[in-house]
C-alpha cells in the first residue's frame, strides 16, 4: 500500500516538474482469480496481476490525460510529459479545477472493504466451490444443462493523489459465484427445439457474504425451468411487477439519468427537474458510499473528495444530481463526491414482500428479464424486449416471452405503486422489487 501511494505522489511531482499547473493521479493494482467448471472439470482458470496509472494534468486551464500499464519511474516520467504536451492543443476550459481543499479527505468510518480470507483461500477450494455448485444444480433437476459454474475473486489497491495535497489509498476485496443454466423446451408448438436459460449469483466483499451454494443452485434452476413452455402474451396495458433483477436494470438507467455529466449535456430526461416531484412519496433513492462491507463503498471518490451519503430522490422529490467537481462547476453546484460513478445506489426498501405485491395484481406481468438497448434515459423512452411470468388472480400463472414492454421513464416513476422490503446487496446498484401501475405490452 505504501508503495502505490508513493508512486502516485511521485507522478504528481513529475507532472508539475514537466510544467503542469495541476495534476491528478489514479493508480490501481489488481489481483484477479477466476475459475469456470464444466462437467466436473476445470474449463478455464485465470490468475493475474494488473497495473494501471492514469495522469490528468492541466496548464492554463487546458487539460489532457494519459495512461499506461507500466509503473516504472521512467515510464511515469514519460507519461507525465505526454499529458503536458497534449494540453497545449486543448481549448481553455474555465470549469476544470481541482476540488477545494476542504472537500478532500478520507472517511473515518471503518468500511470493512478488505477481507484477507479471499486471497488466503487455496485454489483447490475455489475450484471445489464451482464444482459443488454445478453438482447441486445437476442433481436438482434432470432437465438442467450447465452453461457456466464459476467462482471469481479480486483484490484491488487504489491510490489517488493530486496537486492540491491529497494522497491516500485503500484496498478492496471482492468475490462472487455464478451459475448459469439452460434447459431444452420440449413443449409442443413454437418452442420445440428452443433452449430456455437463466442464471443466479451471489457476490460480496468477503467470502462470508456469499449465499449458501444450495440456495444459488436452486434459484438458478428454478428460474430456468419455470420458463419452459413460454408463450407470447396478447398486446395489452396491465400492471407490471419488476423482480429484483429487472428493478435493478431500471434503477441503473435512473443512475445514468442523475449523473452530472448527462445533466449538463442535457441528455437526461431529468435535466431541469431538480426539486420537482417526480415520483410518489414512497420512493426514496439513496447513494451511500459509507456502508460497511458493501461492494460500492469507498472512503473517497476518484478525485479524493471525502465520501458522504446523498439522498438523490427524497420522498418522490428529485433532491440532487450525482456530480464530480467538473460537472458541479458546469452546473453551478457543489461536488457530491461522485467521481468514478455511483457507490451503493438503491431504492429505500418498503414494507411489502414480493408475494404481497404479486397478489395485488389480478391480470398483469411479473417481469424477470429485459433485453435490448431501448432503455433510453436521455430521451426518457423505455422500450425493451421482455420475459416473465403472467400473473392471474394474484398468483404466478404461466411463462411469457417474445414481446416488448414500453413506456416513458417519467410515467413509470410516477406510476411506481408498491415497493418491496428485500434487497440483495450483490452489486453497486440494487433495488427491491416494485410494481408499476400500468405499462404497454406489445405481443400478439
Amino acid at each position: 500500500m505504501e508503495n502505490i501511494r508513493k508512486l502516485a505522489e511521485m507522478a504528481v511531482e513529475e507532472a508539475l516538474s514537466c510544467g503542469a499547473e495541476t495534476a491528478e493521479v489514479k493508480l490501481e493494482e489488481d489481483l484477479n482469480f477466476s475459475v469456470n467448471v464444466r462437467n466436473r472439470k476445470v474449463e478455464t482458470l485465470t490468475e493475474s496481476v494488473s497495473n494501471r496509472i492514469h495522469i490528468l494534468v492541466s496548464s492554463d486551464q487546458r487539460r489532457a490525460s494519459s495512461s499506461s500499464s507500466d509503473l516504472s519511474p521512467e515510464s511515469i516520467k514519460a507519461l507525465a510529459g505526454d499529458a503536458v504536451n497534449l494540453c497545449r492543443i486543448m481549448e481553455q476550459d474555465e470549469y476544470y479545477r481541482l476540488p477545494d481543499p476542504d472537500q478532500l479527505g478520507t472517511a473515518e468510518r471503518d468500511l470493512k472493504l478488505y477481507h484477507p480470507g479471499i486471497t488466503e483461500m487455496p485454489t483447490d477450494r475455489k475450484i471445489r466451490i464451482a464444482r459443488d455448485l454445478e453438482d447441486m444444480a445437476l442433481n436438482m433437476d434432470k432437465r438442467i444443462l450447465i452453461d457456466q459454474s464459476s467462482y471469481s475473486s479480486s483484490v484491488s489497491k487504489i491510490s489517488i493523489a493530486n496537486s492540491a495535497g491529497f494522497c491516500d489509498s485503500y484496498r478492496q476485496s471482492y468475490n462472487s459465484v455464478l451459475l448459469s443454466c439452460a434447459a431444452e423446451d420440449e413443449t409442443d408448438g413454437k418452442n420445440r427445439g428452443k433452449k430456455q436459460s437463466a442464471y443466479w449469483y451471489s457476490a460480496g466483499t468477503s467470502f462470508e457474504d456469499l449465499k449458501p451454494l444450495e440456495e444459488i443452485a436452486s434459484e438458478a434452476v428454478r428460474r430456468t425451468v419455470r420458463k419452459i413452455g413460454s408463450i407470447k402474451p396478447k398486446t395489452c396495458r396491465v400492471p407490471v411487477v419488476f423482480d429484483s433483477i429487472t428493478a435493478r436494470g431500471f434503477l441503473n438507467s435512473i443512475s445514468n439519468a442523475v449523473s452530472g455529466k448527462n445533466i449538463y449535456r442535457r441528455s437526461s430526461f431529468l435535466a431541469g427537474m431538480l426539486d420537482r416531484k417526480i415520483a410518489p412519496p414512497t420512493l426514496t433513492v439513496i447513494d451511500d458510499p459509507l456502508m460497511p462491507g458493501r461492494i460500492g463503498s469507498r472512503p473517497f471518490d476518484s478525485e479524493g473528495v471525502i465520501s458522504r451519503q446523498n439522498t438523490v430522490i427524497g420522498e418522490g422529490v428529485l433532491k440532487t444530481y450525482l456530480m464530480n467537481t467538473y460537472q458541479a462547476n458546469k452546473l453551478g453546484m457543489k461536488t457530491t463526491g461522485s467521481d468514478g460513478g455511483v457507490s451503493n445506489f438503491f431504492i429505500r426498501p418498503g414494507t411489502m414482500s414480493e408475494e404481497d405485491i404479486i397478489s395485488s395484481v389480478d391480470d398483469g406481468l411479473y417481469l424477470t428479464s429485459t433485453s435490448g438497448q431501448g432503455a433510453n434515459w436521455s430521451t426518457g423512452d423505455f422500450s425493451q424486449g421482455a420475459e416473465g411470468i403472467w400473473i392471474e388472480n394474484g398468483t404466478l400463472s404461466y411463462p411469457v416471452s417474445g414481446f416488448t414492454i414500453a413506456g416513458t421513464f417519467s410515467e413509470m416513476m410516477e406510476d411506481i405503486e408498491m415497493i418491496g422490503k428485500d434487497i440483495e446487496w450483490d452489486t453497486s446498484v440494487v433495488s427491491p422489487p416494485f410494481k408499476i401501475r400500468k405499462m404497454v405490452i406489445s405481443g400478439s
Binding site: L45, A64, S67, K195, S383, T404, S444
Partner: protein
C-alpha cells in the same frame, strides 16, 4: 530477427518447454504492445483528449482439456517463468508434445500509407472541427454534436508449443459522429461511424463533414417523426443498416464454442436447411482494411474466409483452436482476445450476408404497407433460443411500394432462425457497418454487412 526486445529466443523456448512439462497438451505465449490516442469533441471544443500505452504478456496452458491462463504487465523472463509456475501449481496430468517455435512470420500492416501515431494531435482534431461546423448548419434544432476519434497501434507476437511464431501489426482508426436534435416536444439522437484497419489517409475533413451533415439530418428527421404503431408487418432492411442483424441474430449462434457445448440453436445441424435458399452467410477476416480484419488471429492462425451458411444450408461454424479441438476440426482463424489480459475465445471478424439478385428498388416496390429500416440501432439476442430485439434508429413507412414518412421508436422483435427462413428477397447491394462486439466480458473490433433484404412479417414494437 530477435523475437522480442530484451528476450532471447532461448528464453521463449525455455518458457514453452517448461510450461508444457509435466503433461500439458499445449502452451502459448502471447505478447502485446499497444498505444492509442482518443479525443471527444463536444460543442466544437476538445472535451477530452488522451493517449495511452498498454503492454504485457499472457501465458496459456491447456491440460486434459482445461485451460489455465495467467498474465502480467511486466515483460521479463523471470516474470514469465513465475506466471507459468503459478499456473502449473494448479494443474495435474501427464503427456505432451513440444515443437520449438520456428522462424518468426511477420505481418506489419504494409497497406498503411500514413501511420496515425506519427501525426500531431492537432491534425486529427481538424476532422472533428470540420464535422462540427457542417452539422450545425443543418438546422436550428441541432442541440449537440459530439465527435469521437480514435486510433491505435497494436503489435502482437505469438509463440506456441506447436511451433508457431508470428507477429502481426494492426492499426485501427475510427470516427464517430453523434447528433442530438431537440425541440419543445423532445430529444432524438442519430449517429454514424466509419473506421477500419487503415492509416490516417482513410479520413479527411471533407469526408467528416459529409458524414456529419447526414447524421444531423437524420436526427432532425427522427425528431419530427411520429411514433410508429406496433404490430406485425413486412420489413425491408436496407444495406445502409449494416449487418447488426446478421451479427446478432445468426452470427453468435455460429460461434463454435457455444455450438460444441450444445448451447446454440444450430448445434449439430450442419447440412440442414437453416435459412431461405437466398441466404449465404460468410465470416471473412481477409478483407482489406475492414475493422474486423487481421493477418493472423490472436492464436497465430492465418486469417480466413469461412462460409457458414450456403444457399440456406448450414455448412459449419467459426472456430478457435480450443473449440476446434473439442469439435474434432481445425481453427478457422477466429480465436481473438481483447488484450493480453484475456484468453482467446471464438469471435466473429467481418460477418455478412452476401449479395443476391434483386434490385433494391424492386424490393421496396414489392411492399404495399410496411417498415423500411435505414439505420439499425443496438440489439440483443439470446443465443440459446435465437430470440432477438433490435432498436431501429432510422425507420420509414413504406406505402404502396414507396418510402414515405419517417417513424421513431420502432423495435424489431423476433427469432433469428425463423427470420432467416422467411427472407424472401435479397438485394444485389452490400453495406458495411462497424462495431465493437462484447462477449464474455471481452470487446473486439468487428464489421458486419448485408444487402437490402425483405422479411414478409416481423413483430414491430412501438406504441399501442
Amino acid at each position: 530477427m530477435n523475437p522480442l526486445p530484451g528476450l532471447a529466443r532461448e528464453d521463449i523456448e525455455g518458457l514453452l518447454e517448461f510450461a508444457i512439462s509435466g503433461g500439458s497438451e499445449f502452451a502459448e505465449l502471447f505478447v502485446e504492445d499497444r498505444s492509442s490516442f482518443f479525443y471527444l469533441l463536444e460543442e466544437g471544443r476538445a472535451e477530452k483528449i488522451s493517449s495511452g500505452t498498454d503492454a504485457g504478456f499472457g501465458i496459456r496452458i491447456i491440460r486434459s482439456g482445461s485451460t489455465f491462463y495467467g498474465f502480467s504487465n511486466i515483460i521479463t523472463r523471470d516474470e514469465m517463468m513465475a506466471v507459468a509456475s503459478t499456473l502449473l501449481e494448479d494443474v495435474d496430468g501427464a503427456g505432451g508434445n513440444y515443437t520449438p517455435p520456428g522462424e518468426v512470420v511477420s505481418c506489419r500492416g504494409e497497406g498503411v500509407r500514413i501511420a496515425a501515431e506519427d501525426l500531431p494531435p492537432g491534425e486529427k482534431l481538424e476532422l472533428g472541427f470540420a464535422a462540427d461546423r457542417e452539422a450545425r448548419k443543418v438546422s436550428g434544432d441541432i442541440a449537440q454534436i459530439s465527435v469521437r476519434y480514435g486510433d491505435s497501434r497494436q503489435l502482437v507476437r505469438i509463440f506456441n508449443s506447436d511451433g508457431a511464431a508470428v507477429e502481426d501489426l494492426r492499426r485501427q482508426i475510427f470516427l464517430n459522429i453523434r447528433a442530438v436534435a431537440s425541440n419543445r416536444k423532445g430529444t432524438q439522437a442519430a449517429s454514424r461511424s466509419i473506421g477500419g484497419n487503415h492509416g490516417f489517409e482513410y479520413l479527411n475533413p471533407g469526408l467528416a463533414a459529409d458524414m456529419a451533415r447526414q447524421t444531423a439530418e437524420s436526427a432532425v428527421r427522427i425528431l419530427h417523426a411520429p411514433r410508429i404503431s406496433g404490430g406485425s408487418m413486412p420489413v425491408v432492411i436496407g444495406s445502409e443498416a449494416g449487418g447488426t442483424m446478421v451479427h446478432e441474430a445468426i452470427g453468435h449462434g455460429l460461434e463454435g464454442d457455444s455450438a460444441c457445448r450444445g448451447q446454440s440453436i444450430y448445434s449439430g445441424r450442419v447440412g440442414e436447411e437453416v435459412a431461405s435458399g437466398l441466404v449465404t452467410v460468410v465470416d471473412d477476416s481477409t478483407l482489406e482494411g475492414k475493422r474486423g480484419s487481421f493477418s493472423f488471429d490472436d492464436e497465430g492462425t492465418p486469417a480466413g474466409r469461412t462460409v457458414l451458411v450456403e444457399k440456406g444450408i448450414l455448412k459449419g461454424f467459426i472456430h478457435s483452436r480450443e473449440s476446434a479441438t473439442r469439435s474434432g476440426t481445425v481453427s478457422t482463424g477466429n480465436g481473438r482476445r481483447q488484450s493480453f489480459r484475456y484468453r482467446p475465445i471464438v469471435r466473429m471478424t467481418n460477418t455478412m450476408i452476401t449479395p443476391g439478385e434483386h434490385d433494391p428498388r424492386e424490393i421496396i416496390q414489392s411492399v404495399e404497407k410496411g417498415l423500411y429500416v435505414k439505420r439499425m440501432g443496438g440489439g440483443q439476442v439470446d443465443t440459446s433460443s435465437g430470440d432477438f430485439v433490435f432498436r431501429v434508429n432510422e425507420g420509414y413507412r413504406i406505402d404502396n411500394g414507396r418510402i414515405t414518412d419517417p417513424v421513431r421508436g420502432a423495435t424489431l422483435i423476433g427469432n433469428g432462425p425463423s427470420i432467416l427462413r422467411q427472407i424472401d428477397m435479397v438485394g444485389n447491394d452490400l453495406g458495411f457497418d462497424i462495431g465493437t462486439c462484447g462477449k464474455d466480458g471481452q470487446h473486439v473490433p468487428v464489421s458486419d454487412a448485408q444487402p437490402t433484404i425483405r422479411v414478409p412479417s416481423i413483430t414491430v414494437g412501438g406504441e399501442e
